[in-house]
Symmetry: C2
Subunit: 143 residues, 2 copies
DNA sequence: TCTAATCCTATTAATACAATGGGAATAGTA
DNA sequence: TACTATTCCCATTGTATTAATAGGATTAGA
């Protein structure tokens, strides 16, 4: 069970946007440089973030991306779900009809609990929370 | 972030063994039938479980697999780790040298917390716990 | 008009996953 | 001993996903 790099990159990219919030649009080029990510790959990721409404874009020169909402309104789960989907562990947890055992399956209950634990962390943390933490630990430049 | 079927199958298979504990070896054939898993695929999975020491095998006629330890001594994380490895979220959480940002990276801290949440569930639950739960909810046959 | 940006679509190499299949080795049993 | 049921071992394969890379169209500011 490993996160895709898309999710990792998306999280780091949107944290950059959160950190830049209020200062206008931030370019993919800058984010890519700060985070050591291929520009072209990041473009695709930003595009996906945009299509889910998490960020807004400004085309043309001096364009870039801006968070669609203030950092304290965006939960980590919002970002996570863009690429990892609502399914964290197994299909049957999200889709009742996936397996006939579903109703009484103990294994499913296990995965449900794991999924709940993950979602609990991601839903209870906002981008702002992470930014604040970064400032306290003096590691904001390493977002 | 989805579990591999190997992990799902392994969990269901070892829960069958746990439920059968004390009654001698249980055959792959039986488990495969009970759980609707391809025998050949399950063979590979059982072999992996064996090589990590979670189960023991008895070859030849009337052979099969037995838990290497009583169900209350085996944690779900033991099974989980066979196929999902120690890495639940991102490489850098387990391997400090994976990324130069590691030391101050806030994104990493996020994934660390998620990982901790997952491991907390899996490490605090034993096979016996699951069996007991199954009996209470009368769904033991659906393990 | 130039430039810098997003946007859109296609392609690709590598990898992992989820099996499937054949047959050797082993052990109980009649 | 012969038979049978099992684990064990190894090879192959189809499919899907990932992680990019690439080219160029569109847009907007200076």
């Amino acid at each position: 069970m490993k996160l895709s790099t898309r999710t990792r990159y998306a999280m780091r990219a949107i944290l950059e946007l959160a950190n830049y919030y209020g200062k206008g649009p931030l370019q993919t080029r800058i984010i890519a440089k700060n985070q050591d990510i291929s520009i072209k790959y990041l473009e695709q990721i930003m595009s996906a973030l945009k299509s889910t409404g998490l960020v807004r874009s400004q085309r043309g020169a001096r364009g870039g991306y801006i968070l669609a909402n203030p950092p304290e309104k965006i939960k980590l789960s919002d970002v996570f779900d863009v690429f990892e989907g609502p399914v964290v562990t197994v299909e049957c947890v999200a889709n009742e009809n996936y397996c006939s055992r579903s109703e009484n399956c103990v294994a499913k209950q296990v995965w449900c609990e794991v999924q709940r634990a993950v979602r609990n962390v991601l839903q209870s943390t906002t981008l702002q929370d992470v930014i604040d933490k970064a400032k306290v630990t003096k590691s904001d430049y390493q977002i």
